[in-house]
């Protein structure tokens, strides 16, 4: 189970990293003839193409180009006269169909601008995962520092920091996140939104980490090895950083697995209500905005793909954290 979770997580990260190669189309290319187009069915003929003219291809995977019948009624039909073979390893992409040949290949259909949902999903993985990862690292760093200092120093410093930690902990996070994002000017370049959101998430996430680290450091401080190093004359900062904090390593690891999904969801929530990234930037949250039109979902259930992606990541993280625990007991015969 754990292994499965870790593998899945690794797979997701790999896919995100390789998005430009895996995506059949550029994420911002708008195919104006194909608004709300359904996914392109992929067909198969058992015919190997080995000649350079026809293009190399695995045993005849091909598609029919979609032609627009009626925009208002969103009806498309397949152009059976011109089958287009799937092209592998061309144009810097794993698989694609060039527009000249009859493309595009829309594995998950197109959105309201005619952009390829599947490609945007892959690119969106980068933004969402990167944001969550950076925010997690920041939250861990800040939390470890504050918690470590509080646990080590003790006394009034500890008291003060702990009260402050409790205070931030008790703040209604979503309200604060909403308010903070809302006060940032709404016209912001995506990079600034990224930095802003990372900052907000890190600021809201560090107290949980700090609390736990403080408890660990406070008890580790009394251990023999810590006293020994202190007797040898090491500076407090060195004791803290080099000797005590590593003891909190396990806890930090567990916290990371709690924070990561939480931040992915926070980005999705904020973008869904329009206070995250602008719609032009593909992230899983902005892709879900399309799903806000529920009557559309009935016609185009593939629009929920970002939800599935989020679910897979969170599931992977949950699987990866599963403690071995004790074997369940069967009392009754």
């Amino acid at each position: 189970m754990r292994r499965a979770g870790q593998v899945l997580l690794g797979l997701v990260v790999l896919i995100a990293a390789a998005a430009p190669w895996l995506a059949p189309n550029p994420p911002d290319r708008a195919f104006t003839e194909l608004l709300y187009a359904p996914p392109t069915p992929i067909r198969f003929t058992p015919r190997l193409r080995l000649s350079p003219e026809e293009g190399f291809g695995a045993a005849g995977l091909f598609m029919y180009p979609q032609r627009l019948v009626s925009r208002l009624e969103r009806r498309f039909e397949e152009d059976r006269q011109h089958p287009a073979a799937l092209e592998w390893f061309t144009g810097g992409r794993l698989v694609t169909v060039a527009e000249a040949q009859g493309g595009p290949l829309l594995l998950l259909g197109a959105d309201r601008f005619g952009r390829d949902t599947f490609s945007r999903l892959l690119y969106g993985a980068r933004a969402s995962l990167a944001l969550a990862a950076v925010a997690t690292v920041l939250a861990l760093a800040i939390g470890a520092l504050v918690g470590g200092v509080a646990g080590y120093a003790g006394g009034t410093v500890d008291d003060l920091l702990s009260r402050f930690t409790d205070f931030v902990l008790v703040l209604p996070a979503i309200y604060v996140a909403l308010a903070l994002r809302a006060v940032m000017p709404l016209v912001l370049p995506p990079a600034t939104v990224f930095v802003g959101l990372t900052g907000i998430f890190a600021l809201l996430g560090w107290p949980i980490v700090a609390r736990g680290v403080r408890a660990i450091i406070a008890s580790e401080r009394e251990r023999d090895y810590a006293l020994a190093v202190h007797a040898l004359g090491a500076r407090p900062s060195r004791i803290l950083l080099r000797h005590l904090l590593p003891a909190a390593g396990g806890y930090l690891g567990v916290q990371a697995t709690l924070l990561l999904p939480a931040f992915i969801l926070a980005e999705a929530t904020l973008s869904y209500v329009g206070l995250g990234f602008p719609e032009t930037v593909p992230t899983w949250g902005t892709l879900l905005q399309e799903a806000a039109n529920v009557s559309l979902l009935a016609e185009a259930p593939w629009m929920l793909a970002p939800a599935a992606a989020i679910f897979i990541v969170v599931l992977a993280v949950n699987l990866a954290v599963q403690g071995t625990g004790r074997a369940p007991v069967q009392l009754e015969p």
Partner: protein, 321 residues
């Protein structure tokens, strides 16, 4: 005990004050103000009088002082969006959110605890299935659950796809109104409750297993106590402690989750109100909502801590010190 409560009360008040003041100042600093709600055809006089009405012609500091003074007298200003005092609006919305949270918590408890007892005390396909389902629901957050549930509701039309009451329902006494609300509440409550139920199930399962591994369980079996009784009467009480520890956090999760669920399912609660207020820069309403949210959370964490103290005597001693 009294000292403990007094300290928590003071803490809650300070929290509420800080949160609402911060929201007020933040909303003020945000670009745009409430006069933009008048639309593109508003006349300059209309705009100016609206600004004056909401203290926007003063500096943020002056406005805060004025607001704080009135807040101490329990006057929280007016809302632009609803054109009425903030107090009544917050009260109603808070009640709706509280109702949702209570039902969701109850559902999570009733689902999670028994299922956890079940999976913690046996092997076999049934238990494995429930464990698997728990893992799934742990991974589907309220946003996704509510989207999917609304989608199902809209297509199958088995239950209402949102809202708190049926629009056309006439004013027919308490019982019919309660019934109406009861039909509308399962959708948002379920969306909120499922991840929490899954958490409870997992925790209960693990701690039940732990408890059953203890010597006293074996001893009870040896004495001839029926397995069912060993689980329910002996092991369960011991296994409850970690759940109590988590209850406080669950309440926190409910409050943040409730915002997005209210948004997707059009439940007229506090989260939804705050969002509308933020969008319109309805400044006094924003401050009021934030204050209420803070109060909820303080109250919730108090309940959580009390439960924890009840379950674990060591905590009680530490708190008394």
């Amino acid at each position: 005990m009294a000292r403990f409560l007094a300290r928590r009360l003071l803490f809650a008040l300070v929290l509420v004050l800080v949160v609402s003041s911060a929201s007020l100042v933040l909303a003020r600093l945000a670009p745009g103000d409430v006069s933009a709600q008048l639309g593109p055809f508003a006349s300059p006089t209309e705009i100016a009088s609206t600004r004056a009405r909401f203290g926007l012609d003063r500096s943020p500091a002056a406005q805060w002082t004025l607001w704080a003074g009135r807040a101490l007298r329990f006057e929280f200003g007016e809302s632009f969006l609803y054109n009425r005092p903030v107090r009544g609006l917050i009260g109603r919305a808070a009640a709706n959110t509280a109702a949702l949270a209570v039902v969701a918590l109850a559902a999570a408890t009733l689902l999670g605890i028994p299922l956890g007892m079940f999976t913690g005390s046996r092997r076999g396909a049934g238990a494995a299935l429930v464990r698997g389902a728990s893992l799934v629901f742990l991974s589907v957050p309220p946003l996704l659950t509510s989207l999917i549930l609304v989608f199902i509701a809209a297509t199958t039309r088995l239950f209402p796809p949102g809202g708190m009451t049926t629009a056309g329902a006439l004013e027919v006494g308490w019982s019919a109104w309660l019934l109406d609300v009861a039909i509308h509440i399962p959708l948002p409550a379920l969306a909120l409750a499922l991840p929490i139920a899954a958490t409870f199930e997992r925790l209960q399962s693990q701690s039940m297993t732990e408890a059953l591994h203890q010597p006293f369980a074996l001893a009870a079996l040896a004495r001839g106590v029926a397995p069912r009784d060993v689980i329910v009467r002996h092991a369960w009480r011991v296994s409850l402690r970690p759940i109590c520890a988590v209850y406080g956090l669950a309440i926190g999760a409910l409050l943040s989750g409730s915002f997005i669920v209210e948004f997707v399912t059009a439940w007229p609660g506090l989260g939804r109100l705050m969002y509308e207020a933020l969008r319109a820069r309805d400044i006094y309403l924003v401050a009021g909502c934030a204050a209420m949210g803070g109060l909820f959370l303080a109250f919730g964490s108090l309940i959580g801590d009390l439960l924890l103290a009840a379950a674990d005597p060591r905590v009680r001693e530490r708190q008394a010190a």
